[in-house]
Symmetry: C2
Subunit: 354 residues, 2 copies
């Protein structure tokens, strides 16, 4: 046990398979050998049904006191669509100002993909998805509900402030990568107001990053290129909804949703007023159909733990976890045996510890 | 030459490769042996640069007099994003009330796909994309443009009227297919106002179609399933923007954008007040990078011509064109030789004529 880091971690297992995968993530985190205090919060469908609460103000205030948050998954068919998503998951992203939703799309060696052609080096990108505005703002409304004259609107809200900060993050990220390429994905030819803002911001900020090659791709074309030419992409910066779609697609081309990790990142310096804990979670949902059966792959959660470590400045530990996962994935190719959630977690934990 | 049908067709080659692919579509149409009058309209980038006009009112009025419209592609880098798209292509779709944007996603035997696994029977769906509202409404605006306080909005407008008519079309379409399965794709857990309207309409209309199995899938998950389990889908009904993204992705999994056809359909009965000509176009864009080089694949346009024939009630002729394409695609697999746009058009024409 090293004494240098005393990490206070909030854990929100959530719904469905959330608890199962989070347990394995924590097992791996334990094996890293950090001084760790975890506090678990029972937010999600069960709490909602029992008390009607989704995310009480006091809980939100408490969560602000942690170094980071590990989240399993949110959503259950017993709760009307949007209740847990908007009032728990999105509320956390918005209130803790997770304006960067960081989602690597990376094909590990040995992993089979749904695509015919690609080699691991063809699929190695990172999607920087905006996390606090766009079509996720919750703006909109309904008139004459239930009548033949009903109108329902949904508004995408984009601010120079919100776009610029995530675009800057993406340029900085591109600078850390060998290819130094940044692609803006949007739909400027149709969503002309929002698209124009995004395009102008990328253009303006690019002047400060002469080493970064910038590129633009419509979201429809980008979806196609994810499948036909994934090597086009290095760093992608995009809006909240396009990022949502592209990163599920990204999971599909990089070995499946069981491997896709994400970080809801607040990049402010700790101690500053705008800082709040970042939150790490697998891209997959709560998968109620397989919950409680030990069938879920905890790898995405474990890779999210690696992102968490990296975010906390523990790059070596992060690399250790990622290496353990990479080795496990190679092993799966050579000698595939069916394993439970628990067994996969154990095997990766053993590699981290070993 | 048969005398029974006298088809008046408006042709809009448009920009980039539009003219090249449309020429081959017309060649095939000629070979079908219908009585055909075509009138070509020079709308697009060149006209815009020469006269500043995009779609004059008189031209729009004239276009209403045709039985159908064949369009190549619209868009050119020399024109600011959105000008031709919004004021030409989308204006046509909106003014002619093309509320059904019909896009088959079908893997023809012999066609290679970017995916590792699928057989032709695994990819055979049809996307019924709403064509006249949603995020394409053009609603939105910008405040304090160019300042650090800029806000740009983009509004999705959804009406019970608009959603119900396209949903009904999709149910009718599902009834014509062996599997009779309809999947609504949306993002009800985040876009709660619009998603709720869509979900309620599908639910209500489904009561009138007891033989159709209905299903729901979030757009992010749907993007993933297009790649990993395309056989999940039979008929999809979805919003304008989700349909845009999914159908490019659909092209990617079904042999590429060179094969993807579409119809912007106004399903009203000819002679009724709401009738207007439907417009058929390949899903691909104007591809300015390869324009004028004879490199574009005209197959998507030729399949769009088949959809046009089918729409005009000429099901046998449509089937003949589709069969000619299917045979050509099989032949490509057996003995692939590089062919120009013109040569592919010639070969398919010969099959239609023969
Ligand atoms: C559950 C849902 C609200 C969420 C989103 O749309 O962001 C999920 O799909 C994701 O990508 O994290
Ligand atoms: C060119 C563009 C406006 C158009 C759309 O977004 O509908 C195209 O992508 C399509 O799918 O037909």
């Amino acid at each position: 046990m090293r004494e240098s880091h005393n990490i206070r971690l909030a854990v929100i297992p959530g719904d469905g398979i959330g608890g199962e995968v989070v347990a394995e993530g924590l097992k791996v985190l334990d094996a890293v050998g950090l001084k760790l205090e975890t506090t678990t919060y029972d937010l999600g469908a069960a709490r909602y049904h029992a008390t009607g609460e989704v995310l009480p103000d006091e809980t939100l205030a408490e969560l602000r006191g942690f170094d980071a948050i590990l989240l399993g998954a949110v959503g259950d068919p017993s709760v009307p669509p949007g209740v847990l998503e908007r009032r728990l998951l999105l509320k956390l992203r918005f209130e803790l100002d997770h304006y960067v939703n960081l989602r690597p799309v990376k094909l590990f060696p040995g992993v089979e993909t749904a695509l015919a052609g690609p080699r691991p080096e063809d699929i190695d990108m990172i999607v920087v998805r905006e996390g606090t505005e766009g079509p996720y703002a919750g703006a909109g409304g309904v008139m004459r509900r239930g009548t033949s004259q009903e109108i329902a609107t949904q508004e995408s809200v984009n601010t120079a402030f919100g776009v610029e900060r995530v675009v800057r993050f993406a340029f900085d990220k591109a600078m850390t990568r060998p290819r130094r390429k940044l692609t803006l994905v949007h739909k400027t030819n149709v969503l002309t107001y929002a698209g124009d803002l995004w395009a102008r911001v990328v253009d303006r900020v690019s002047a400060e990053y002469p080493e970064v090659t910038t590129d633009y791709c419509h979201v429809d074309a980008a979806s196609m290129f994810f499948v036909t030419q994934p090597q086009r992409f290095d760093v992608i910066v995009t809006d909240n909804l396009f990022g949502d779609i592209l990163t599920d697609l990204g999971a599909a081309i990089a070995g499946g949703i069981g491997l896709a990790a994400s970080g809801n990142v607040n990049p402010a310096r700790p101690g500053t007023a705008s800082w709040a804990p970042s939150m790490f979670e697998p891209v997959h949902g709560s998968a109620p159909d397989i919950a409680g059966q030990g069938k879920a792959d905890p790898t995405a959660t474990i890779l999210s733990v690696a992102m968490l470590l990296d975010h906390l400045g523990l790059a070596d530990d992060a690399a250790r976890v990622e290496r353990a996962v990479a080795d496990d994935l190679l092993e799966r190719q050579v000698a595939w045996v069916p394993r439970s959630t628990f067994e996969i977690g154990d095997d990766i934990t053993a590699r981290v510890a070993g």
